[in-house]
């Protein structure tokens, strides 16, 4: 049948498909890391040629610090060629299909009934891929439904994959093992949470209820009675993924509305809920021309601890940052300055952080911000590149940044990159954030 007659063609494509489903332990991995071990200088080029983007994503997050954020951002545009970035984005919504019998088997095992018994109609052909499974279209009660099915054994492969890459990762990133552990724990925890569909269902329902008041956001209704630990059933949302949406040349007004909705959504989560949908990749949003945006997939939620929250957002406060002693204290609290740092290193890294923070928090200091401003992003990328090439940065063996910053940073960069693609003009004032939080 169709699923299997077309074997994915390109090597990269095939491999990304594997990666996307959790069948990560493959020859590509080993080849990739072995090559890198032998010749570290080929790093970026090799990465392009090879296909470990998912791992690279993980790896580039590993130092987690504001500095390593450089690499995170690069995932979107900077260091990686645009074509490659697009392929990577695509890989997030095209994984190898589960076979029909496996889908039926999953239903029988977890819900005790076949899809034909549960739904009025059920499309055996997957509509698209979720990060660790796939989505089928179904009909029931006169409604179109999206049924997300998880690939069996994903949780197991997450664990074994991380075990496999860990020793390599330590070598590549050049960090000491103890420091690395805190990031690995964080990543492993989050990845494992993503495989827990029961948890995801609960969170999806909670977060969508809590954010229902934000204008122009659309959340699907979830159906717990048609869900299990391997299956989530929700309303089928209309709309287009970012790339296709932009290809239709939406109006500035629509783009602004969507941008605003996403901005509000994230600020509300971070500041009011203190937990955030930490996976803002384009596959999780469906945009429509009337300026509304559908949001789903709450598999990856980062709970933000109060202590971290306070320190992190003090960074956006210009007054506080003027006070040298206070600033250092914050950096230390956020683990951006390592206890083993010499005075010279503190001086050096503080300077770098300051410059970058100034750049990255610019939208927060304005009433309104135009994310279509290419000069702004170009400036950031340039600085990131500059940082990345600094000898001191590359040779620093310690981890900078608390484990929590890993996913919070990732969230903000994901958001920025979507807003920048949208070229949205967004009201970013503190007053608006305060309104949202209190309202």
């Amino acid at each position: 049948m169709k699923e299997q007659t077309n074997i994915p063609t390109g090597k990269v494509e095939r491999a990304t498909r594997f990666v996307a489903t959790g069948v990560k332990v493959g020859a590509n991995y080993l080849k990739h890391y072995t090559k890198k071990l032998i010749d570290p200088s080929t790093r970026r080029e090799e990465l392009h040629a090879d296909n470990a983007e998912d791992i690279y994503d993980t790896l580039s997050n590993l130092k987690g610090s504001a500095l390593k954020v450089a690499q995170m951002l690069s995932m979107d545009k900077g260091m990686l060629p645009k074509a490659y970035t697009e392929r990577f984005a695509m890989s997030q919504y095209s994984a190898p299909p589960l076979s029909g019998p496996l889908v039926v088997n999953t239903f029988m095992k977890t819900l005790g009934k076949s899809p034909a018994q549960l739904f009025d109609s059920f499309d055996m052909q997957a509509a698209n891929a979720a990060s660790i499974g796939q989505v089928h279209k179904a009909r029931k009660w006169g409604k179109e439904l999206a049924v997300k099915i998880q690939y069996p054994g994903v949780a197991n492969s997450v664990r074994s994959d991380l075990r496999i890459i860990k020793p390599f990762a330590i070598r590549i990133v050049g960090m000491n093992e103890v420091d690395m552990d805190k990031y690995f724990d964080e990543i492993e925890g989050k990845l494992l949470e993503e495989t827990d569909y029961k948890l995801e269902l609960r969170r999806s329902m909670e977060v969508s209820a809590e954010c229902a008041h934000i204008p122009n956001l659309v959340f699907p209704v979830y159906y717990p009675e048609l869900s299990s630990d391997k299956i989530i059933t929700m309303d089928w949302l209309q709309g287009l993924h970012l790339k296709e949406f932009l290809a239709r040349r939406p109006t500035q007004e629509a783009r602004d509305k969507i941008g605003q909705a996403l901005w509000d959504f994230y600020q509300f989560q971070v500041h009011a809920l203190k937990r955030v949908h930490a996976d803002p990749h384009p596959g999780n949003f469906l945009m429509r021309e009337d300026g509304t945006v559908g949001v789903f997939d709450f598999g990856c939620i980062k709970e933000i601890p109060q202590e971290f929250y306070v320190n992190y957002f003090l960074l956006t406060n210009k007054e506080v940052l003027k006070d040298e002693a206070r600033r250092r204290e914050i950096y230390t609290n956020l683990e951006m300055i390592h206890p083993s740092d010499t005075e010279r290193e503190i001086e050096f890294f503080s300077g770098l952080f300051q410059k970058m923070i100034d750049m990255l928090t610019l939208p927060f200091t304005r009433e309104e911000f135009d994310f279509g401003d290419e000069a702004y992003f170009a400036g950031i990328y340039e600085y990131m590149d500059h940082l990345y090439n600094l000898k001191e940065v590359r040779e620093s063996k310690v981890a900078r940044g608390s484990r929590h910053s890993l996913y919070v940073n990732r969230t903000y960069f994901g958001l920025y990159s979507i807003l920048s693609e949208l070229k949205a003009r967004v009201i970013t004032s503190e007053a608006r954030i305060a309104d949202l939080t209190n309202g």
Binding site: M1, Q4, S99, P101, L102, N105, K109, P152, G153, K230
Partner: protein, 208 residues
């Protein structure tokens, strides 16, 4: 007569005692049947054990053949559906199978316990392969394609072994193993990969 009650009683005996009945005589007493009646169905416990494996297989196949979706499947999907259901079926008798495992898993000598199952399985696979020629899912290759059945038998043994050792929740790793093993096998026998391998092999061996 119907052999199913004898099979069930035998499995039950194993579950309760963890070993074979001492003799056909004692076993028959529990079953309240005469020894002669037992021999009408089975010549020995060995024959009975073989037949239990065959019955697991036949029951699976019967269920599949009733299923409407199964009929609409392609060959690869049929085989997948078979393994999934077979493993489900075996699950009901997991304890019995684990008790017996050294008899059919470890030394290849004892594979004869699966003999009756193997013969039935071969018939089933041959039929699938024949269908596969028509749908184009299986490529016909002179001499070679007759050997496919052996490959699929090894695959079935692999699935069985994997399942016996599987300790994941709901045996989900077995599901993943089945999916991967079947996909791999069909990619091999449908694409040109196998031809290239054969061609290469021929080249290497005939060169000198």
């Amino acid at each position: 007569m119907d052999k199913a009650p004898i099979r069930e009683a035998y499995i039950k005996y194993w579950l309760e005692h963890g070993r074979r009945p001492v003799s056909v005589y004692t076993f028959c007493q529990q079953l309240e049947m005469t020894e002669a009646a037992f021999y009408d169905s089975y010549a020995s416990f060995d024959a009975l054990e073989k037949d239990i494996w065959r019955a697991f297989f036949e029951e699976t196949l019967e269920k599949l053949k009733e299923d409407e979706t199964y009929k609409g499947y392609g060959v690869r999907e049929k085989l997948l559906a078979f393994y999934f259901l077979w493993v489900q079926q075996l699950r009901q008798h997991r304890s019995y199978i684990l008790l017996q495992k050294e008899k059919y898993l470890a030394p290849p000598l004892h594979l004869d316990k699966l003999e009756a199952f193997r013969i039935a399985f071969y018939d089933y696979i041959r039929e699938l392969i024949k269908d596969g020629y028509q749908t184009g899912e299986v490529k016909e290759r002179k001499f070679i394609s007759d050997q496919y059945v052996h490959g699929f038998w090894l695959q079935a043994l692999f699935v069985l072994q994997y399942w016996v050792k599987d300790d994941s929740e709901g045996f989900e790793m077995t599901d993943a193993a089945i999916e991967k093993a079947v996909n791999l096998s069909f990619q091999l026998i449908s694409s040109n990969t196998l031809d290239s391998i054969l061609d290469f092999g021929k080249f290497v061996f005939t060169k000198k």
